[in-house]
Symmetry: C2
């Protein structure tokens, strides 16, 4: 597996782009792109996962309907930032108009369009920026357009999250690439934030859906910035088949190769998402081992990286491991507290559920870096899990105190 350039356009057949359409006045002033299209020259298999929030954005509803009507086939993705098109009486109508206009401009069927929105909830989404933006964007689509598309879907994100790999698949070269956005309102449950993956692997919709679900459970479902599950989370993948491998129809070697590449890309994007968490300065990785089952390991890993108190302590490079034990204690699952060992940044701080002496100076030095690894061994089995989070800083509060203005 080789990391390559090209992001969401690295796979054969895909073009993308982003423009300033003006969904917020300030976007025009700051020349901030806010409308993106990803397009494939060939009809693709497609699969998507959606937020489990009961309040769902209108684009989620329309995309679910479109993919159901085509039986998992799609040609394009249209996304705006700056407005979530959620809790609006005319939201579904607007999202359908976006699909129709995108389809018309590209000369494809409107049910082949995946639509997504991200931004403020509960503000009417004006259609006018689409009317000028979509045709302009369609004229600009290119194989080097991944960065522009990525810029256009960002909100409070401070950096692009794009990635691609090339890998051997059934004797041919294939590619998986993607972009995502997300920085706050991040505690995915099922699917998450906005994640757009493309591949030229030849794989049918059912197997694509299976791979996406499996990989998502270990990647985007294992991150948390602030415990808030968004109304507009969506992760989708489109497969053009242009790599030329024999179609993946079951769990054969090709499936394993494809799933490994997808996992590589989605793990990278998930980690980058929390590294760019609102106000975050540090990535926190929690590795749980020795668990009697995977569910307990996942629950503990995710509970630890979600603890506000631990996140605040780590922002100051404070090895306050008692807060790790405290978080472990309110995670779901059955385990014996007095068997637990904890290392922070490689330093043993707790053995058999009780503290052991360690050098605070050395700990402070190691925790001052931009990645912190917490290892928790339950010493009660052989299953494990990993979760990723970020530190909690004053900047998080500043960002979210005046998000709408």
């Amino acid at each position: 597996m080789k990391v390559i350039e090209g992001g969401v356009c690295a796979a054969k057949g895909f073009k993308a782009g982003g423009v300033v359409a003006g969904f917020k006045k300030s976007n025009i002033e700051k020349n901030k792109k806010d409308l993106a299209v990803i397009y494939c020259e060939k009809e693709c298999s497609a699969a998507a996962l959606y937020t489990r929030n009961k309040v769902k954005g209108a684009p989620i509803i329309v995309t679910q309907k479109n993919l159901a009507s085509t039986g998992g086939r799609a040609r394009a993705i249209a996304v705006n930032s700056g407005n979530a098109n959620t809790c609006n009486p005319d939201g579904v109508e607007i999202a359908e108009k976006v699909c129709a206009l995108t389809a018309q401009s590209l000369g494809i069927d409107k049910s082949g369009v995946i639509v997504a929105s991200t931004g403020v909830i509960g503000q009417k989404l004006d259609f006018a920026p689409f009317e000028t933006g979509i045709p302009e964007l369609v004229g600009k689509l290119s194989e080097t357009g991944s960065a522009d598309a990525c810029d256009a879907i960002m909100t409070t994100d401070t950096r692009r999250k794009e990635y691609a790999v090339e890998f051997e698949l059934d004797g041919v070269k294939a590619r998986v690439g993607g972009i995502c956005k997300g920085s706050g309102m991040i505690n995915p449950n099922m699917a998450t934030l906005l994640v757009f993956i493309t591949t030229d692997a030849n794989i049918g919709a059912a197997m694509l859906d299976k791979a996406l679900r499996e990989v998502n459970a270990d990647t985007f479902n294992m991150i948390c910035v602030d415990g808030d599950t968004s109304t507009n989370d969506m992760a989708c993948v489109m497969a053009s088949g242009l790599a030329g491998n024999a179609e993946i129809t079951g769990e054969n070697n090709g499936y394993a190769e494809f799933a490994a590449a997808l996992r590589f890309v989605m793990t990278y994007l998930a980690r980058e998402t929390v590294r760019d968490g609102e106000g975050a300065k540090k990535l926190i990785e929690c590795r749980v081992t020795g668990s009697p089952d995977e569910k307990t390991a996942k629950s503990i890993a995710k509970t630890v990286i979600s603890s506000s108190l631990l996140k605040a302590a780590l922002s100051a490079a404070d090895a306050n491991w008692g807060r790790i034990l405290c978080a472990v204690g309110y995670a779901d699952g059955d385990f014996e507290v007095d068997k637990i060992d904890v290392n922070i940044a490689g330093i043993p701080v707790c053995k058999n559920g009780a503290g052991v002496p360690f050098s605070e100076d050395e700990a402070f030095k190691r925790l001052s870096g931009d990645e912190i690894i917490i290892e928790i061994n339950l010493n009660s089995g052989d299953r494990g899990a990993v979760a990723w989070g970020c530190d909690l800083t004053e900047e998080y509060v500043r960002i979210n105190a005046d998000y709408r203005s």
Copy 2:
């Protein structure tokens, strides 16, 4: 029901006090009291609730054992702040020594002592400060000692939380009063933080336990500061019986009168706890009505007041109601999103799940106060619930970044 002075000593038979014992060096430098005793001249019925965190402080284990061995009878409470005595190999031994010394100094049985600790987790608790502190304290106990005891149990708290009422009980005057501490690591599950209630009502241990459970479910279990459930949470109540009412042995009128007084005191203390949440400037009260059942109403109310994004928005007086709908959407329960109405500070912002126009200026003005009421009507039944939280400010992060230092 009449609010009276005296806090945890308002009920007949109780004395209390607090001293500087020196569990942290800085406590001596700052003359910060850190050891408290509450004592009753007569043996009391007693009941307590404990944290559901699987990691439990040693004092929790010892108190559970003591109350079990006496069948719900107690004479005194001994509490230190500055060290949680949790995750220490010799924690239980130290907690038992505290009970023995307190009992010896007071001339009572050691199984009649309720012991509690709060502070840093995973640091050895030195016994020496108890050796000098307990005898000094026992010599100083007084009927006006509630404030000193309250000062001694505070950690990051910025204000005393004490309250008492006098009420009519079965034709006689009775009193319920209490003190509590808690500011961070607050997301009680079952019992919470440290809450010490006293009463002179004549009520047996079983009915006292029942009243405490019922009232706690609607008060301390309905607050959240930061989503972290502490290892040392404890709420306990001692009843001296000195008011002279006929003993409450069942759910008669006397029980209802007593439970109402207990609810009044515990509601006050719970609200004051979140008002004094770490870094908090505003109290947020979320009232859910029109729910098909109480569980759904409680889940929604608690999820809303726990949302970091909403808490950050309210710190800046921003009526970002989309974040309320988003939080409602990931609460447990079955309800129809398009029937939901939301008012913020009396201003309708959402009808039938969609936004309605409102004056942002008026909203900003109303949200700039120090209490914000959010009303959510599900329009799907007649059950309701109330939860209390606080805003999230940069100060929260500052406090928790360097708590140990």
